[in-house]
Symmetry: C2
């Protein structure tokens, strides 16, 4: 795409992302943006997370999908406020569609919103959707070279969930290379090892969420005091 066109698209997106950030701050709702390749385990991670987190927080879901409702159907059983965004071919969620989705949600009554972005390591990282944190999910079969190959996401995210860690012995993945590349790109970025299907690492992930929510709330409080 023409560079100038892309710049305009990103500027318009950034403007609305600011609106989303203000809306979330006003409503005291923390929004996490889960980004990964297709099949890394985002939906499974949410399936494991929601029941354990629901006793403490009120949760909403924005489910991004190119065509189907499959992931949304998997999460429907939790009976949470959920908006499905079908992008019909587009490779990422943008601020305009996310803002529309948020306007359909009971924000006064939500503590946390998880956005499951379209499965793609490239474009979703370029589009700020006003989230309080991008979370990169990578699974071990995808290979340890992905941070170097898709640096924008791994540079911008607040946390890396390394999923399918139970497959480490049968795939070609060097944990030390992976961690070294990540630390070059993104200093002290936390990396949580996880096997979502068995529940391994889920406790640490819940602790990370609690901490992140706490930090956002304190930041909002400080802004109000200024």
């Amino acid at each position: 795409m023409d560079y100038k066109v892309m710049k305009k698209v990103l500027e318009a997106n950034e403007f609305l992302a600011g609106d989303i950030r203000r809306l979330l701050a006003e409503k005291k709702t923390v929004m996490f943006n889960l980004i990964s390749s297709p099949g890394s385990g985002k939906t499974t991670i949410l399936e494991k997370t929601i029941p354990l987190l629901s006793s403490k927080y009120k949760i909403g879901i924005i489910e991004g999908d190119v065509e189907t409702e499959r992931d949304a159907q998997r999460l429907q059983r939790f009976d949470l406020p959920m908006v499905l965004i079908n992008t019909h071919g587009a490779c990422h969620l943008d601020s305009e569609t996310v803002l529309s989705a948020l306007q359909e949600m009971p924000l006064d009554d939500l503590d946390i919103i998880f956005v499951e972005n379209v499965g793609n390591l490239v474009c979703p990282a370029e589009f700020d959707i006003g989230e309080n944190g991008k979370i990169a999910v990578l699974s071990t079969p995808e290979g340890d070279d992905k941070p170097q190959k898709y640096p924008l996401l791994f540079r911008e995210c607040k946390l890396v969930l390394l999923n399918k860690i139970d497959l480490l012995s049968v795939v070609n993945f060097s944990l030390s290379d992976f961690c070294e590349d990540l630390s070059t790109l993104n200093g002290s970025i936390p990396i949580l090892e996880m096997a979502a299907t068995s529940g391994m690492g889920v406790d640490e992930w819940l602790q990370w969420i609690e901490q992140a929510v706490q930090e956002e709330r304190e930041a909002w409080l400080q802004e109000t005091n200024c």
Copy 2:
């Protein structure tokens, strides 16, 4: 992105894709476009394919990558004509960049060009690059639901390489669901099971390539005779 802008971008792309098709027909070079998520095994498949195919065909490579030269470096040892396209953030190859790459290659002396597209199941499928066939690569850890979730690629491709079939017993993947979804989307699409790291399925893949090259050559011959 605005619908009209996207339509213009795709129309301009389609125009140049026609130029590429004419160029390849004139030079009698068959071009395959490998599309998959990051980490499904495209580069490993090429590493296994090139030495076995080189005795019969002269091969060239167009290597698409968002930022690094990692994949190109892995293929450099084969000493083939290769052009690396770094997209610097863009999520797919388009006709303009591929046409530029082709103009740097010794087309009179090449039988087959493999394009390794940017790792992404969405956008590369939307951009016709004048190839003689798209080849979808999916690995079993990515899950059996991907054809339904990313239908454009699986509808348009001429072949599906189902890689990492050796992991079938340790991942959540139903072969019968996968094949059923594919056949709904794309009739009699051939599916080759493969474990590129061990070489399993590579012979069948080579046979498919030979057959596809033969068919293109016969089609070009018929066009010349008309």
